[in-house]
Amino acid sequence: MTIKTLSSAVAVTALLAFPAFAEVDFSGETVEWVIPFSETGGSAKWANFFAPLLSEQLPGNPTVVVKFMPGAGSTKGANWFQEQEHEDGTLLFGTSGSTQFPFLLGDPRVRYEYADWTPVMASGTGGVAYLNPKDGAKFDGSANALQDIDFIYGSQGATRLDLVPLLAWEMLGMNVEPVFGIKGRGDGRLMFERGEATIDYQTSSGYLGASADLVANGQAVPMMTWGALDEDGNIVRDPTFPDIPTFKEVCEATDGCETSGEAWDAWKAFFVAGFPVQKIAFLPAGTPDDVRDAYVAAFEAVRSADGFSELAAKQVGKYPVFVGEGAARATVAGTTVSDEAKAFVQNWLQEAYGVSLN
């Protein structure tokens, strides 16, 4: 037997034996969690929150480092991830609503396909819209008295998460004029505090962090939440804000707003993609089951650890963290919209804001 045949025989044996004996162990390795945004955004906060917890729970306790690959509103990083293949299970990727929306809207720059990736964990958030005190006094659970008022809203762009509030206000018959080009919801809130903007919305953590103070001081009046999803996919009150009505309730109470039909379906589809399934952690294409299971088990352990929910409530909000099958189902819900909903939103963006995505 020559050395060459010997070595290939060994190699073949090893390959055959590998799946049977493989025990996933990351001892001494470094897991890179790539975030397609800059160090400063919400996704960075999310990954930095989970990274040390994940490190404790993965077999062999690898170091988990968060790496940032910003560019083109996350499209650059997601396109990069599409080209990665499974190597040794030390690559994790995190997406956000800003990655999902261009994908759903058919942005020409998108070269990634969610279905190719392996989701291991998903988590969501909620959102609250609020009004200035003067107009807030006219709000009675319906938007009927708000329909002849001109509102100003500081917006990050109609094709981003802001699509959800803008479409909701439009459906309520309110006249909200967005001032585009702000850099984050915090800037939008500041614009509202200065009185330049007269309506605003924040994601749950942003609302709890600062806007709730405005409400307590009488400088803002909460209007509605986007709601949360129950097990069957129905919109129910947001568990973080049980006292604030959902958009669905306000819509039902408002003349001319329908909770069925193509506008409603489109709004709901984008709401699901943008809020309850906002952030998802993926392993790359071709990841074998044992590696995926190791990550799912680790995230399961993170999620069920003592004190996790209090910790998470402060950091990422009081929302469910989906793992394994749940994450896979959430990913499907968050990354598919019907062709009608897509066409409706594309058409609305074109008509209302002149945004063409082709």
């Binding site: 960075a44 906060k45 560019g71 500041l190 200065r194 330049e196």
Partner: protein
């Protein structure tokens, strides 16, 4: 008095928290790490803080704060080394320091410039902390008074510094600023998402160019190339003049300038959304306008160092106000800081309005840790400055390859694309020619930095103003012409008028001889050509996206008009006129033993080789070839220096968990780090 009653006990608690040996130990540790990161251009606080983040989870709050603040506070101090010694703007906070700091180093007075800068930084930091201690309690309404029209006016005030820095031919300065603004608009517009001078086929351009790359390209590359061509040391005749004691004395002589610039730093720093980009220019402009003999600015005037350096550390303190009061980060490093605070301890400290009410002691700890970090950092820097200043006596040919290495690495960190290196080279080329033909580079940079704020604030202010006017004329006028805006308009007008009168005596590029007509004319035509194509491109944006096209059209139109007047002047005037200034005609560059293109070819070689074999392998070849061929070093020295350079890169990238640019080779074979 109510305020005092809550503030004083909290202040006492804060000092009790800070003045524990273990807290001070963490602070010093953070400061040392900050200095290590800060001396490398382009990395700055974001890289350092990201490095610390994993350790913050559940850490004792005051210890974690000491570590992080130690690091953040000294970055604007330590990046002064690069700006003074090498002419490399380490971050946006030290751009203006380059203008006079580097000429001082060239005169052999690096130690003096450094110690003056550090003393100013220290003082600025302390003034900032003192001011904040009282101000943070009453700051909220003041911060809220700065709406969009006010922010637009401050940006315009910053832009008006172009008048001071325009150089001998004001039109050229104006055109340079216009060109900088137009380069700043490249990419996807913030408001409507239209593309300007970019296409989705080149994704790199859609995000626009990073400030790090433009700063390095405009200031560092032209200086490096010029010194390399002359084959000398940075300090002329390799002699060191004044020492560090001199610099401290300089600061004492100019202490009132330092006070005023510190206050400018704090005040501009507290306005969220402006950040540090304008502060140092406004401070520099102020230093110029309050100096009787202006002839030394741009050639090594110590006041030109003291002004901006006093303001940039004070600004860090000011920047804490929006961060802590509103939870809105004033800068990238502040954003990470906010995220990290939430990880500390049991996660109870939430940055935002509640912070002052519930955690006033922690708030004061932050303010005074910042001041203390400044003290520690400055003392370390002053102690080191005498030794480090010796770098300026080394033959520059031995420094240059390492500087090319560092700036390439820094540029790559901004976007982690190979295109970052290409952009650096192209911007560097623009910088070289701006310098050669005496077009003001500071004006270009101010234009670039302020391009985005000008566009954003003017569009948004216009939208809201038109909305107010719709409800009533008075309401609209009251919105646009608030008292703050009126004061700022007056300040701006005075500053422009004074600036234009003074501009002729401030030669940022030194005295440049005029030469033949051809080369300056060709350069002008190239710039005009770019402006024309940018204008055509902007005009093609559909009208419903008016917000995306109006600023490029107006700015580009003005810049093009300047170019056309210059063209007419060039045709009419004799070739000895200053409009034909050309550094290749007389002076250091003209007498240099090496040509421009052969020198630049070395840098191009590094970039091309990176494209093929990745950064570290390319660097290996580049360092060996450069040291052997260009520097004529012995094999032993060459190998030692090369090994040291590569080791430095690997340690730095390894510690900060950063990658190097991969090349085609890495696409084909998998190589172990750091070759990947």
């Amino acid at each position: 008095m109510d305020v005092l009653a809550t503030a004083l006990p909290a202040l006492g608690d804060a000092w009790a928290l800070i003045l524990q040996p273990v807290v001070l130990g963490y602070l010093v540790l953070g400061v040392v790490m900050g200095l290590a990161v800060g001396v490398f251009p382009g990395l700055g606080g974001i890289a350092g803080l990201s490095l610390l983040l994993p350790f913050m989870f559940g850490m004792e709050p005051v210890l974690g704060l000491a570590l992080m603040i130690g690091m953040v506070a000294v970055v604007p101090t330590s990046d002064t080394f690069a700006s003074v010694l090498m002419g490399i703007p380490g971050s946006s906070a030290s751009q203006a320091t380059v203008l006079d700091g580097f000429p001082l180093a060239k005169k052999g007075q690096a130690a003096r410039a450094l110690s003056a800068a550090f003393t100013s930084s220290l003082f600025g930091g302390l003034v900032g902390a003192l001011f904040l201690t009282i101000f943070i309690l009453v700051a909220r309404p003041i911060v809220l008074a700065f709406g969009l029209p006010e922010m637009l006016m401050i940006t315009i005030l910053g832009l008006s510094m172009v008048a001071v820095l325009a150089g001998r031919v004001a039109l050229k300065g104006l055109a340079a600023a216009g060109l900088g603004m137009m380069i700043g608009t490249i990419g996807e517009a913030d408001a409507g998402g239209s593309l300007r001078m970019a296409t989705y086929d080149i994704p790199y351009l859609t995000d626009g160019l990073a400030l790090v790359i433009v700063g390095l390209g405009i200031f560092a590359i032209p200086e490096i190339v010029s010194l390399l061509r002359q084959d000398r040391s940075i300090a002329k005749d390799a002699k060191l003049g004044a020492g560090w004691g001199e610099g401290v004395k300089d600061w004492v002589d100019n202490k009132w300038l330092s006070v005023r610039c510190s206050l400018i730093g704090v005040l501009v720093g507290i306005i969220p959304g402006l950040g540090g980009s304008v502060v140092d220019w406004i401070a520099y402009g102020h230093a110029v306008q309050t100096t009787k003999d202006k002839s030394n600015f741009g050639k090594g005037e110590i006041r030109g160092v003291i002004g901006p350096e006093s303001s940039n550390n004070a600004k860090e303190g000011g920047g804490l106000v929006p961060t802590l009061l509103f939870g809105i980060p004033g800068s990238g490093s502040m954003a990470i800081f906010i995220g990290a605070i939430a990880l500390l301890g049991s996660g109870d400290i939430e940055v935002g309005p509640a912070m002052l009410r519930d955690n006033l002691d922690i708030t004061y700890s932050i303010v005074w840790l910042l001041a203390l970090a400044n003290v520690v950092g400055t003392l370390l820097c002053i102690a080191a400055s005498g030794g480090i200043a010796r770098l300026t006596t080394i033959r520059f040919t031995y420094l240059a390859p390492f500087l090319f290495m560092l700036i390439s690495f820094a540029a790559f960190q901004s976007g982690q694309n190979f295109e970052d290196l290409l952009a650096l080279f192209v911007i560097g080329l623009i910088g070289i020619f701006l310098r050669r033909f005496d077009w003001s580079r500071p004006a270009f940079l101010i234009g670039f930095v302020l391009s985005n704020p000008v566009e954003k604030f003017s569009n948004q202010a216009f939208q809201i103003a038109s909305f107010r006017f719709r409800s009533s004329f008075e309401e609209g006028m009251a919105y646009i012409f608030s008292p703050i805006v009126i004061v700022l308009i007056i300040v701006t007008v005075v500053s422009v008028v004074l600036g234009i009168r003074q501009a002729k005596s401030i030669m940022a590029e030194g005295d440049v001889q005029a030469g033949s007509k051809r080369a300056p004319l060709v350069f002008l035509l190239i710039i005009a050509g770019y402006l024309v194509s940018a204008l055509i491109n902007a005009n093609a944006i559909p009208d419903f996206n008016m917000t995306d096209k109006i600023v490029p059209l107006v700015v580009g139109g003005i810049a093009l008009a300047c170019c056309l007047i210059l063209l007419a002047q060039m045709i009419l005037r004799p070739e000895t006129d200053t409009v034909f200034a050309d550094k290749e005609r007389a002076g250091e560059d003209a007498d240099a033993p090496y040509g421009l293109w052969s020198t630049l070819a070395w840098f191009a070689g590094l970039i091309v080789a990176t494209w093929f074999v990745g950064f570290i392998l390319a660097l290996l070849g580049f360092l060996i070839a450069f040291l052997r061929v260009r520097a004529g070093a012995s094999w032993a020295l060459t190998l030692i220096l090369t090994a040291a350079g590569i080791a430095l890169m690997c340690v730095m990238a390894g510690a900060l968990n950063r990658d190097f640019p991969p090349g085609l080779l890495q696409d084909v074979v998998d190589l172990p780090w750091p070759l990947t």
